[in-house]
C-alpha cells in the first residue's frame, strides 16, 4: 500500500516536473520554433531570466563569432551538427587515449587502447554512455573535460534538434530550420547548465562529493587500508541524469553511494531522468499551439511505460529462484522480492522503476544490477529498448517519436480516406520512405551484430554465463548500443576489440543515421504548405489515434524482437527463472 502511494506521489511529481521543464524549454526556443504560444500566467516570472541569459548569450555569440540571425536549411544544420560532433569525437578520442600524459591524473592512470578509446569517444559524443571501462580508470581530466564536457555538449546537440525539427512542421514553404549553434548555446546556457547546477547542489546536500582529492584512505574495522575514490561526482551525476547520458563516475553507477546517496536523491534522479526527454515532447505540443497533443503523445508512451514497469516490478517482487534453491537449508527472507544485485536503500520496487525509466529513455544509468534480475524482470528493459527507448534522448526523443507518428499518420490517414497529413503537412512517399528506413535501423543494428557475436569466436569468448543468460547479455549489449541507451546487463567481458568496434559502430550509426533522416524529413516538410484543419482532416488528439499509435509502437517496435527475446529472457523465464 505504501508502495502504491509512493508511486502515485512519484508520478504526480513527474507530471509537475514535465509541465515545468516543458513550459520552460518551450519558452527558451519560442523564437527559434516560430511558436505563438506564451508562458502560462503562473510561470510568467521566468521571463525575468531573459535579460541575464541574453546578455550572456550575446557575449558568447560575439566571442565565437556566431551570427545569431543567420538561419540554416536542413543540410547546413546537419553539416554544422556533424562538424561540431566530429571535432568533439576527435577530442574525446585523444583525451581517452592519452590521459596518462595529460594533467589532473594524480593516480597515474593508463591511457585507453585505441579501440576502447574509439568506443568510449563514440559513446559519449552520441549521448549513449555505454561503458566498456570502469569509471575508476578515468583520470579527473578525462572525467571533467572529456566525459563531463561531452555530457553537456551531446545533450545540447540532441536538444538543439527539437526546435529545428519543429520548424520543419511550422514553416510555410520556407526551408530555414534555425541556427544550430544558437539552439545549442541557448539550450546549454538556459537549461542544461543552470538546472544541472541546482541538481548538483541538491546531491551535495545528500552527501555526494564534489572535490578533487583523489582518494581517501581509511582504516577499516578489519584492520586493512581501503582507498576510496572521490571526485567531482555531484556535478557529473547531475548532467548525467538531466542530459539522458547515464555514464557513471564509478563502475557501480547510480548504485554507488557517492553517486546516489539516499532514497531522496534516488527519487530526484529518477524524476529528472524521465522528465527531461518527456518535457521536450510536451514542449513540442506548446510550440505547435497544441498542448493537448503533447500530453496525448506523452500519455500514449506512458501507457506502454506503465505496462513494462508492471512486468518488471511484478518479476522483481518475486523471490530469486537461484537463492531459494541454492540456500535451501538457510532461511533467507525473500519477502522483499529479488534483492540480488540491488541496493537495500532502494529495494526491488524502486530499482524496477529505475530500470524501466533508464531504458525508456536513452539514459542508461543503473542503480541495480540488471544481470541479477529475475528473467521476467529483465523482459521490461529489453522491450523498452526494443521500442527504441520510448521517450528516447533529450531532443532526439521527439524526432524518434515523430518517426513512429509518421507511420501511424500514414495508416490512419488512409483509414479515414484522406491523403496522410500531420499538423497540416502532407506525409508523402519521401517522408514515409525515410521514416520506414529509420524504423528498420534498430532491428538491423541489434540483430545482425548479435548474430555476428554469437557465431564468431571473438564474440563468444566474451560470454561467460551459459545458455540463454549468456545470449541475453549479448542481446542486451547490442540493444544498449543500437538504441543509444548505454546501460549494461554486464556479465559480458566487453572490453575487447571485437565488442568495442562492433558496439562503437552501432552506436554511431544508431545516433547519426536517424538524425540525418529526420533532419531530411524536416527539410522536406518545411518546404510544404500547411493545409488548414477541417472536419475531414485526421485528428491526432483522440483516443483512436492513441490506440493506433500504441499498437504500431508495440507491433512494429517491440514485437519484432519477440523471436530473439524468446531465445533470451523469455526462455529463461519459462525455464524456471534460472
Amino acid at each position: 500500500m505504501l508502495n502504491i502511494l509512493a508511486l502515485i506521489v512519484f508520478f504526480v511529481l513527474l507530471f509537475a516536473l514535465i509541465y515545468l521543464f516543458g513550459e520552460y524549454i518551450a519558452w527558451i526556443y519560442k523564437d527559434q520554433t516560430k511558436s505563438k504560444s506564451n508562458l502560462p500566467g503562473k510561470l510568467k516570472f521566468i521571463k525575468k531570466l531573459d535579460r541575464p541569459f541574453k546578455f550572456l548569450e550575446a557575449k558568447i555569440f560575439l566571442v565565437l563569432n556566431i551570427d545569431s540571425d543567420q538561419e540554416m536549411n536542413w543540410k547546413q544544420y546537419l553539416f554544422s551538427l556533424l562538424i561540431f560532433n566530429g571535432v568533439l569525437f576527435i577530442f574525446l578520442f585523444l583525451v581517452f587515449r592519452f590521459q596518462n600524459i595529460l594533467p589532473l591524473n594524480p593516480l597515474n592512470l593508463e591511457g585507453m587502447s585505441w579501440h576502447q578509446a574509439f568506443h568510449t569517444a563514440s559513446t559519449f559524443v552520441s549521448n549513449t554512455n555505454q561503458q566498456h571501462y570502469a569509471g575508476e580508470t578515468l583520470s579527473y581530466f578525462s572525467q571533467l573535460f572529456a566525459v563531463g564536457l561531452a555530457m553537456f555538449l551531446s545533450a545540447g546537440t540532441g536538444l538543439a534538434l527539437a526546435p529545428a525539427f519543429t520548424r520543419g512542421i511550422q514553416n510555410q514553404e520556407n526551408s530555414k530550420l534555425g541556427n544550430f549553434y544558437v539552439n545549442l548555446i541557448k539550450g546549454l546556457i538556459r537549461f542544461l547548465l543552470p538546472v544541472s547546477f541546482v541538481i548538483g547542489v541538491i546531491l551535495i546536500s545528500q552527501g555526494s562529493p564534489q572535490w578533487f582529492g583523489g582518494e581517501i584512505v581509511v582504516n577499516t574495522i578489519e584492520g586493512v587500508k581501503q582507498a576510496i575514490r572521490v571526485g567531482p561526482v555531484a556535478g557529473i551525476e547531475a548532467i548525467k541524469t538531466l542530459g539522458t547520458n547515464g555514464g557513471g563516475f564509478f563502475a557501480a553507477n547510480a548504485a554507488h553511494p557517492f553517486e546516489n546517496p539516499t532514497i531522496f536523491s534516488n527519487m530526484l534522479l529518477n524524476l529528472i531522468m524521465l522528465a527531461s526527454p518527456m518535457a521536450i515532447i510536451y514542449a513540442f505540443g506548446i510550440w505547435m499551439g497544441k498542448r493537448r497533443h503533447g500530453v496525448i503523445l506523452i500519455g500514449a508512451l506512458f501507457v506502454i511505460f506503465l505496462g513494462l514497469f508492471w512486468v518488471t516490478a511484478a518479476g522483481e517482487m518475486q523471490p530469486n529462484r537461484a537463492v531459494t534453491m541454492a540456500e535451501e537449508n538457510l532461511h533467507i527472507n525473500q519477502s522483499l522480492g529479488n534483492m540480488e544485485g540491488k541496493e537495500t536503500r532502494f529495494g526491488s520496487l524502486l530499482s524496477s522503476l529505475w530500470a524501466i525509466s533508464t531504458t525508456s529513455t536513452t539514459n542508461g544509468a543503473v542503480n541495480s544490477m540488471h544481470n541479477s534480475y529475475n528473467p521476467q524482470g529483465s523482459v521490461g528493459p529489453f522491450l523498452a529498448m526494443a521500442m527504441n527507448c520510448l521517450y528516447n534522448g533529450l531532443g532526439v526523443g521527439l524526432l524518434n517519436l515523430m518517426t513512429y507518428i509518421f507511420i501511424c499518420v500514414f495508416i490512419a490517414g488512409l483509414m479515414i480516406g484522406r491523403a496522410p497529413q500531420y499538423l497540416g503537412k502532407r506525409i508523402e512517399w519521401r517522408e514515409v520512405k525515410i521514416a520506414a528506413l529509420i524504423i528498420l535501423l534498430l532491428p538491423v543494428l541489434v540483430l545482425f551484430p548479435t548474430s555476428i557475436a554469437v557465431i564468431t569466436e571473438a564474440g563468444k569468448e566474451a560470454i561467460h554465463n551459459p545458455g540463454f543468460t549468456g545470449f541475453s547479455e549479448v542481446l542486451y549489449e547490442m540493444f544498449s548500443a543500437g538504441a543509444n541507451n548505454g546501460s549494461g546487463m554486464e556479465g559480458l567481458i566487453d572490453n575487447t576489440m571485437f565488442y568495442n568496434l562492433l558496439n562503437g559502430g552501432a552506436i554511431l550509426m544508431g545516433r547519426y543515421l536517424p538524425i540525418f533522416g529526420q533532419l531530411l524529413i524536416a527539410g522536406y516538410l518545411s518546404n510544404k504548405k500547411i493545409r488548414p484543419e477541417t472536419e475531414g482532416t485526421l485528428k491526432v488528439e483522440n483516443l483512436s489515434f492513441l490506440i493506433l499509435f500504441v499498437g504500431v509502437m508495440i507491433i512494429i517496435g517491440g514485437l519484432i524482437f519477440m523471436p530473439a527475446l524468446a531465445v533470451g529472457p523469455i526462455a529463461e523465464m519459462l525455464n524456471g527463472g534460472m
Binding site: I416, G417, W429, L437, G536, L543, V567
Partner: protein, 678 residues
C-alpha cells in the same frame, strides 16, 4: 447476383500462373519475398539436407504447395480486378464500328452550298487529321472533330448513355463532336482533329488501361512501407537461425519461412494492386474517365469543391411555381398563362402548361391554333398566341411586357422584386396589352443535392458555389442548398483566380467545367472534372472526363476516392494486426523443440508444432481470396467526420485483424487433426 463470368474467371486463373514470373513479381516486394521463400521450400522438398532439414518430405511439400497457392491467390486478385476493368473499357471499344465519312474536296465551301459532288465517301480510317468532313441527318460522325460551320442535334447516347440529344454548333463551347455518335438533324461541316486511333474515345480507353496499371504516389509510399516491414521481419527471422545455433537448437528453415510469411504483411501486399484497379473501375462504372489513379486519390482528399450553380446545384431548367394575379381574377390569369404557353416547347413553357393542368384550368382548345403561335423573338422578348377573335395573349420578361402594356398595375413591380429576392424569375402575362399578373419561375434544386452537400461538409469538404447570376439569386440558391460560400456575377475566367486563391491556403480544390475558358482552371485544380459535352480544350485540361456530362458527379468521385484510400488503410491495419497471433501461435511452436518451456505461451492449445505451421500458412493463403470481394467492392463508406471514421475502421479492421487469425488458426488446426492429417 451470382452471374459468374466463367470465361473471365478462367482467364484470371491462367494469368495467375503467368504472373508467377519473378520478373513481374519483383514490383511487389512482399510477394517477391514469398516467391523466394517458395523456391527455398522447393529446394528443401527435393534435397532436405541442404539446410539441415529434419522434417519429413511431405511436410516440406505441403508448405511449398500452400505458398504457391498464396502467390496464385494474390495474382488472381490482381488479374480479376484487371479483367473487370478491361471489360468496361472493352464495352467502350465496341462503339468503334467500321465507319465511312464524306470528305470535302474543297475546304472553303459554304455549308449550305454543299452537294453530293463536293465530297467523296471514304473509309473512316482513310480520313486524316485536318480533313474537313460533311455530315447530315443519319450519318455517324467518322472521327473526333470540331464543328466549323452549322448546328445540329446529335445523339451521343452511345458514349454517354444519355438518351437526350445534344446540340453541337460552330464557335463557342459546344463545337466538339465525337466519333461514333449519330447526327439526328441538320448538317455540319467538321474539321477532323484526331488521327486514326487517336480519337477521344481511343485515347480514353488507352488512358483507363494505362492509368489503372500505374501505382499512385500514395500506393508507392505504401509499397515502400510494406517493403521495409518485410525487410525488418526478414532480419528478425534470418538471425533466428544463428541465435538457434548458439543455444544448440536447430530451427528448421521451413518453420522460419512459415514465421516470416506469418509476420510479413502478405494480405495487404497481395491485395494492393486489386484495390487500386477496382477503385479505378468504380470510377469508370460511373462513366467517368480518370486519366490517372492519382486524380482519383486526390478526389478523396479534396478540401473544397467549386460547384457551378446551373446544372450542378440546380437543374438549370426554370419551372413555373406559381401564378400570381395582380389586379385581375385568378381564373383570368390562369387561362391566359395556359393559352400563352400552349405551343411553347421550351421547358419553361411546358412547366407553365403543367402547372395550369395541376390547377385544373380549362380553355377552349379549338381556339388555339398552332399557326397562331407567336414565337419568342429577341426583339419583342415575348411569346404567346393570337386567338381567332384577334385577342393577343403574351408572356415575357417583366420589362418587355411592361413596355408592351398600356399601363402597369399597382403592386406589379413589388411582386416582381419579391420573386427575384427568393431566387426566382418573374414573367409577366398580358392579354391585349393589359397585364394580368406574374408567373413565378423557380430554378429547381437537383433532387438530393442538399443532402449531398451536407454530407460533403460533414466530411470536411467545403462547397463553394460560383454563378453568373445576380447576388440575390445566388444567395437564395446557396441558402436553399446549404452552401455558405458563394460567388455571384462570376465570370468563368475568374475561376482560375478562385482556384489559385484557395490553393494558396494549402487546400486541395476540385471543380467541373466544360468551356474553353474553364480550361486553365480545370488544369490548375487538383481535380478537374471536364464534361464530355464540353470543348476539347476543357477535356484536355481536366484530369477526369465525365461521359454523362453531369457535373454533380464530382461528388461521386470524392466518395470513390475516399473509399479507395480507406480500403487500402483498413486492410493494412488488418494485415498488421494479424501479427499478434503469430507470436502466440508460431513462436512457441517453432522454438519448442529447443525450448520446451515455450509451450506455455501456446495458450490456444494447438495440436503440434507442425500443425500450427501448416494451419498458419493455410490461414495466410485463404485470407486473400476471402478478402478479394472486400478489396474489389471497397470498404463500407458513409459520410462521417474523420474521428468517427477512424474509430470505426480502426476497431472494425484492427479488431478483426487481431481476432480472426486466432480463431481461424485454431479452427484449421482442429480440422487438420479431425481429418487425420496429424
Amino acid at each position: 447476383m451470382f452471374d459468374i463470368d466463367w470465361e473471365q474467371q478462367w482467364t484470371a486463373i491462367k494469368q495467375s500462373f503467368i504472373k508467377l514470373d519473378p520478373g513481374y513479381l519483383i514490383k511487389n516486394p512482399v510477394l517477391f519475398v514469398v516467391e523466394l521463400c517458395t523456391i527455398l521450400t522447393i529446394i528443401l522438398t527435393i534435397y532436405p539436407p541442404l539446410f539441415n532439414g529434419q522434417e519429413p518430405t511431405w511436410y516440406y511439400l505441403t508448405i511449398t504447395l500452400i505458398l504457391v497457392f498464396t502467390l496464385l491467390f494474390a495474382n488472381y486478385a490482381e488479374s480479376l480486378a484487371e479483367l473487370q476493368g478491361e471489360a468496361h473499357a472493352d464495352s467502350l471499344k465496341a462503339l468503334q464500328v467500321e465507319s465511312e465519312g464524306k470528305r470535302l474536296k474543297n475546304k472553303d465551301i459554304e455549308l449550305d452550298e454543299i452537294t453530293e459532288a463536293d465530297y467523296e465517301v471514304v473509309a473512316g480510317e482513310d480520313i486524316e487529321k485536318g480533313d474537313y468532313v460533311f455530315v447530315e441527318k443519319g450519318d455517324i460522325i467518322p472521327r473526333d472533330g470540331e464543328v466549323v460551320e452549322g448546328s445540329a442535334s446529335i445523339d451521343e447516347s452511345a458514349i454517354t448513355g444519355e438518351s437526350e440529344p445534344v446540340i453541337r454548333e460552330s464557335g463557342g463551347d459546344r463545337n466538339s463532336v465525337t466519333e461514333g455518335t449519330e447526327v439526328l438533324s441538320d448538317v455540319l461541316k467538321i474539321e477532323v482533329t484526331a488521327a486514326v486511333g487517336e480519337s477521344f474515345l481511343d485515347r480514353m480507353i488507352g488512358l483507363v488501361e494505362t492509368a489503372s496499371r500505374q501505382k499512385t504516389p500514395n500506393e508507392i509510399s505504401m509499397t515502400l512501407l510494406l517493403a521495409s516491414f518485410t525487410f525488418v521481419y526478414l532480419a528478425a527471422v534470418v538471425t533466428m537461425r544463428f541465435f538457434g545455433m548458439y543455444v544448440d537448437m536447430n530451427v528448421d528453415v521451413a518453420n522460419l519461412i512459415a514465421l516470416l510469411i506469418g509476420l510479413m504483411p502478405t494480405t495487404i501486399g497481395a491485395l494492393l494492386a486489386s484495390i487500386r484497379i477496382a477503385g479505378m473501375t468504380r470510377v469508370t462504372r460511373e462513366n467517368i474517365i480518370a486519366k490517372s489513379g492519382k486524380a482519383v486519390e486526390s478526389a478523396g482528399d479534396l478540401d473544397a469543391l467549386i460547384l457551378d450553380k446551373t446544372g450542378t446545384i440546380t437543374t438549370g431548367e426554370r419551372i413555373a411555381e406559381e401564378f400570381i394575379a395582380v389586379g385581375s381574377e385568378d381564373n383570368e390569369l390562369y387561362k391566359a398563362c395556359l393559352q400563352s404557353s400552349y405551343f411553347d416547347e421550351t421547358p419553361e413553357g411546358r412547366s407553365v402548361v403543367n402547372l395550369a393542368h395541376d390547377l385544373d384550368v380549362d380553355v377552349d382548345e379549338s381556339e388555339l391554333k398552332k399557326e397562331n403561335f407567336v414565337e419568342f423573338s429577341a426583339k419583342t422578348r415575348m411569346s404567346g398566341i393570337d386567338l381567332p377573335d384577334g385577342t393577343e395573349v403574351r408572356k415575357g420578361s417583366v420589362e418587355a411586357v411592361e413596355e408592351y402594356a398600356d399601363e402597369i398595375p399597382d403592386g406589379l413591380t413589388d411582386k416582381a422584386h419579391e420573386i427575384a429576392d427568393s431566387g426566382g424569375t418573374p414573367l409577366a402575362v398580358a392579354v391585349d396589352k393589359r397585364i394580368l399578373g406574374l408567373i413565378e419561375l423557380q430554378d429547381e434544386l437537383k433532387i438530393g443535392i442538399k443532402a449531398r452537400i451536407q454530407e460533403l461538409q460533414e466530411m470536411g469538404v467545403k462547397c463553394i458555389m460560383a454563378t453568373g447570376d445576380n447576388e440575390r439569386t445566388a444567395r437564395y440558391v446557396a441558402e436553399q442548398a446549404g452552401i455558405d460560400e458563394y460567388y455571384s456575377e462570376f465570370k468563368p475566367e475568374e475561376k482560375i483566380e478562385l482556384v489559385e486563391k484557395i490553393q494558396e491556403t494549402g487546400k486541395l480544390i476540385g471543380m467541373t467545367g466544360d468551356g474553353t475558358n474553364d480550361a486553365p482552371a480545370l488544369a490548375k485544380a487538383d481535380v478537374g472534372l471536364a464534361m464530355q459535352a464540353g470543348t476539347n480544350a476543357a477535356k484536355e485540361a481536366g484530369n477526369m472526363v465525365d461521359l454523362d456530362s453531369d457535373p454533380t458527379k464530382l461528388i461521386e468521385v470524392v466518395a470513390i476516392g475516399k473509399q479507395l484510400l480507406m480500403t487500402r488503410g483498413s486492410l493494412t491495419t488488418f494485415s498488421i494486426a494479424n501479427d499478434i497471433s503469430r507470436y502466440f501461435a508460431l513462436v512457441p511452436a517453432i522454438f519448442s523443440a529447443g525450448i520446451p518451456a515455450l509451450q506455455q505461451i501456446n495458450f490456444m492449445n494447438l495440436y503440434s508444432p507442425q500443425s500450427v505451421v501448416i494451419a498458419s500458412l493455410i490461414y495466410n493463403s485463404l485470407i486473400i481470396p476471402f478478402l478479394i470481394p472486400l478489396a474489389m467492392k471497397g470498404v463500407d463508406y458513409k459520410a462521417e467526420s474523420s474521428s468517427k471514421l477512424l474509430r470505426k475502421n480502426l476497431f472494425l479492421y484492427g479488431g478483426a485483424g487481431l481476432i480472426a487469425p486466432f480463431i481461424s488458426i485454431k479452427l484449421i488446426d482442429m480440422l487438420l487433426v479431425m481429418l487425420g492429417v496429424f
